[in-house]
């Protein structure tokens, strides 16, 4: 396999001057796990695979969570919401490499191949490269998709087992990237099926050229792209794990764009006239989930009182060093159906104390769980827990901070009889509110992703209804209502949404910060 990689590399060995003309260098934060997005779950992998190399039937419009046509020109849902028919775009070409030259354009077979390999146990690709289809399984696609039917070469129908409105947004996710069935067959015949993950072929704006593990990934613009050709000829990912070093590379002109700066460096970056810092709220939420099945946290008034005792602004200043904003709802403000009208519980320790007394709670001892890892929605959980501990001590609540190794933390925090409130968070997958509200707060999530163990029937009814309605305006209303119920019941203290900073050279034009977290270079130019 390595030898084939190198052949691909050789094909790109241009003279130094031409190779560097019109090139964008992105100092990425880590190495991709591979190049077949359906096998993996990390954003770093998607940046290097699904965004540059592949397309999906429908796609997220860069910079928004709106779903727009991709390889499907249009789609239609049946009235009962059980069938989605996609009309495929014609004349779309797959990339070529030394190992493969496509003999035909993209068609329905490629769509069927891309999904059936994840869905069907007996498919020749189901077990290739480890065969763990985490996102496909995680989004409940095996239960949801009953059948995929090829109507003709340019029409595909998905038959669902139940109506589910977020299905269309799921089809825009990375795991739904469309691979070439012909390439799959060729590699199977050659005895190297893992090449799909190692030397990817897609229809996207950039074709893969070479990957030197943990060092550099190279792409070149796809001259036959079905949309306008990319504004840059070459795209290079220079893998640079340390944030301070990324910044130095940006300063030295060794890269044009860098993700995830150190919060402490952002102020200096903003003052640098050669650097342009773009920012946007991340599609995430950091929260403190009470165990709502245990007294006294089963009483909404107690939870509400505890929420009012937390000085969130102090957390934003200290833990996020400014790169965060206070969360009042369980979904982030960039998401459609975000309920602006809701008022956050104001920070008021006096009132909180009084409310606790009214609820008959005194001398409360509780545990707060602090995550052992850093996440955008919580850069320092231990520090956050300490701040909350201090806030709670002011209302007479005594807090013990506990922590476990990450794997242990995740599994123990799911237990229904867990002792204490858990700090955790979530980053959205598909821009659909269902992906937050149902996953994190629905009754189905109890003893799983619903860390508050909160099953409140009126709330659950609303989100279940919103799941099957296809009209977005109606869904918006339902989700707004769900957020109102959430706020009254307060199963969590919603703490913060991160703010994502993207520093880049001021030579870079046209970059859009994507709310779903991906880094996308189609549509970008370099002066």
């Amino acid at each position: 396999m390595k030898a084939k990689f190198m052949m691909a590399a050789g094909a790109f060995a241009l003279s130094a001057s031409t190779a560097f003309a019109n090139t964008l260098v992105y100092c990425s934060e880590g190495s991709p796990e591979g190049f077949d997005p359906a096998l993996f779950t990390a954003g770093t992998t998607f940046d290097a695979s699904s965004h540059p190399i592949y397309n999906r039937l429908v796609e997220f419009e860069t910079g928004t969570t709106n779903v727009i046509p991709g390889l499907a020109e249009s789609y239609e849902a049946s009235d009962d919401g059980l069938e989605y028919t996609f009309k495929l775009r014609q004349g779309v070409k797959f990339h070529s490499s030394d190992a493969f030259t496509p003999s035909r354009d993209f068609n329905a077979d490629d769509v069927i191949f891309s999904f059936e390999r994840q869905r069907l146990d007996g498919h020749p690709y189901n077990k290739v490269s480890g065969g763990t289809w985490e996102y496909f399984d995680g989004m409940s696609m095996p239960d949801l998709v009953k059948e995929i039917v090829k109507i003709d070469d340019h029409t595909v129908k998905f038959v669902l087992s139940r109506p589910e409105a977020p299905f269309v947004a799921n089809m825009a996710m990375d795991f739904a990237s469309i691979l070439s069935a012909e390439y799959g067959e060729a590699m199977l015949a050659a005895g190297t099926p893992e090449m799909l993950n190692g030397a990817p072929i897609g229809t996207g704006p950039f074709s893969f050229v070479a990957y030197q593990k943990d060092a550099v990934i190279r792409y070149q613009a796809n001259a036959d792209y079905w949309k306008e050709k990319a504004g840059i000829d070459n795209l290079i990912f220079a893998i640079t794990p340390d944030a301070s070093v990324r910044y130095q590379k940006l300063r030295a002109g060794e890269c044009h764009v860098m993700p995830y700066p150190n919060p402490a460096d952002v102020a200096a970056m903003k003052e640098d006239s050669n650097v342009n810092v773009m920012e946007q709220e991340g599609l995430n939420v950091g929260y403190l989930a009470y165990n709502t099945t245990m007294a006294p946290f089963d009483n909404p008034a107690v939870r509400k009182a505890l929420n009012m005792a937390i000085d969130k602004q102090a957390i934003i200043d200290v833990v996020f060093q400014g790169s965060g904003q206070i969360a009042k709802n369980p979904i982030p403000p960039t998401m459609w159906s975000y309920n602006q009208a809701i008022e956050d519980d104001a920070y008021n320790p006096e009132m909180a104390k009084q409310m606790l007394a009214e609820a008959g709670v005194s001398d409360l001892d509780m545990k707060i769980w602090a995550m052992p890892v850093q996440r955008p929605y919580n850069p320092n959980a231990r520090r956050m827990a300490e701040l909350i501990q201090e806030d709670y001590s002011k209302i007479g609540v005594n807090v013990e901070i506990v922590s476990y190794e990450w794997g242990e933390y995740l599994s123990r925090s799911k237990e229904k009889n867990r002792d204490g409130a858990v700090l955790l968070g979530w980053t959205g997958d598909n821009g659909d509110p269902d992906n937050f509200l149902a996953v994190l707060l629905g009754c189905d999530g109890v003893e799983a992703s619903n860390r508050a163990q909160w099953c409140h029937q009126p709330f659950d009814d609303v989100i279940q209804k919103a799941k099957v309605v296809t009209d977005t305006a109606e869904r918006t209303k339902l989700y707004e209502e769900a957020q109102t119920i959430f706020k009254e019941q307060a199963p969590w203290a919603t703490i913060a949404h991160s703010v994502v900073y993207m520093p880049m050279s001021n030579k870079v034009q046209g970059y859009k910060v994507h709310p779903l977290g991906g880094h996308i270079f189609y549509g970008v130019t370099v002066e």
């Binding site: 790109f12 130094a16 779950t41 763990t132 995680g138 943990d214 060092a215 130095q248 990450w406």
Partner: protein, 335 residues
Amino acid sequence: MFGYLLTRLLTFVPTFIGVTLISFAFIRVLPGDPIIVMAGERGMSEERYQEMVVKLGFDKPVWEQYTDYLVGVMQGDLGQSFVTKKPVWDEFFSLFPATLELSICAMIFAMALGLPAGVIAAVNRGKFFDRFLMSTALVGYSMPIFWWALLMIIVFSGNLGWTPVSGRIDLLYFFDSVTGFMLIDSLLSGQAGAFKSAARHLILPTIVLGTIPLAVIARQTRSAMLEVLGEDYIRTAKAKGLSPLRINGIHALRNALIPVITVIGLMVGSLMAGAILTETIFSWPGIGKWMVDSIFRRDYPVVQGGLLLIAVMVMIVNLTVDLLYGVINPKIRKR
């Protein structure tokens, strides 16, 4: 000599099995289930979890997992990474040359400066040079690598612009990897300026990784030299009227080298520890960072396989060092 080599090679077998056992046990003793870590906040259903347990072979008794692993190792199969799904063997050998190249350069740097510094300090015992060199060595030894590396980057790459910030070669150059050693590959590529670029990229990481060995070698050379300089044969050499260069450089240094070589051999292990930090900061695609990432992800096959391969490398280096004694001191060879 041949008999000695054979005896040494035979002692490899129990050490090798011991290492497989320790590396196998080590990662399993750490808390944290690799499947749960893999799933992250998203989690997975109990059914799916059980499926993964079977797929990864965790349903078998531990002793059976170990024997499967050992049989695989004997057949040259170190397993597949849980994360990248690629053979551990392939990953190791695509990254190892980078670590080796950097380590060799760092050792050459450390020896080239450390040996003369130690000799000069010993000859000038108690004088300014001695105090200056030894206190500098102490500072070098105490330097936190992370801080030292960032400082070097900010000063020499960021502010002065003399050296590249990180990586192995300018992105401008692109050629097939033949040996994995960038210095050699850049020469083979025939591209103008490639070798110079590769060499420039090596400067800062070499200095950073070589700093601690440099300090250790300088201090060890000094104390070994001091011991040798008091010997009778040195007095004889002086009485014979040999030049100081000949006395210090040949008679004394050669005899002082044995403990220094021992220290260098032992330092290969600690060089690996330094390589982890150096590689992370300089975005150097070597095995140090690869191992650390794998430990955090509980990527069992990579941790087991990586540790085993590193242990074998260290064993080979130590064997080479032992054989070198004989080259330096014929008396040891005869024993």
